[in-house]
Subunit: 144 residues, 2 copies
Amino acid sequence: MSSERPLTDDLGFLLSRASGAVARSVSAALGPLGLRVRSYSVLALAVEHDTGVTQRSLAAVVGLDPSQVVALVDELQDRGLVERAADPNDRRNRLVRPTAEGRRVFAEAHRLVTEQDDRHFAQVPPERLEAFRDVLRRVAFPGA
Amino acid sequence: MSSERPLTDDLGFLLSRASGAVARSVSAALGPLGLRVRSYSVLALAVEHDTGVTQRSLAAVVGLDPSQVVALVDELQDRGLVERAADPNDRRNRLVRPTAEGRRVFAEAHRLVTEQDDRHFAQVPPERLEAFRDVLRRVAFPGA
């Protein structure tokens, strides 16, 4: 044993292991709906902003390159879950909006994702979970 | 806005974003030492168990397939940072041990990783950080 704290105390290491554990079970749960973690995130944001959201905003929140977001939106659009429409405030802009089918699939996917989150965090008391979420938010979005 | 909690409150989503943010800066910091997050983790575990650790234990802690661990150990061995030696308790077993150079590079890498962790968590009071680490540990290693 070295005198330093062990790797299993390192916050970056623990974040990576915890994130991987949740992502694996969420991916498995979403599989039957034909969604993965990333396409679920894009669909979730489209449903939240149902008057439309720009691909740039999607990229900023999900933390992907714009080109990756375009591919995910293409995939969701091919499946009829989102559509691209002209921005009424700026006709040169295209907004991503959910379809009725997209809202329906999202509701089902959200239920499955929540089930997995609940399973992983079942042992954590609610007030500690709020504090935990707050720290995550600060690290994930330091400027916000 | 849907009536559900927004994606940016979802624990799996926040874990993934926070983990990604820390991993990116740790990777950048380790680059000049020729290490990445995964090879750093394997080296860290070898230094912690300096009488030797099996590749199976490494795989379990780091959360990788044994074949991925073998490749990482090969890489560290080629650079003279670890060596494989016969297990004195079972000659058929091979143990991974750090070299003197491996200990030296690890000490420097550990300093850089700690700097990045500190930067990301600078705003979080120490007692909240302990609670945060405890929740991460439960999610990362639910059986432990």
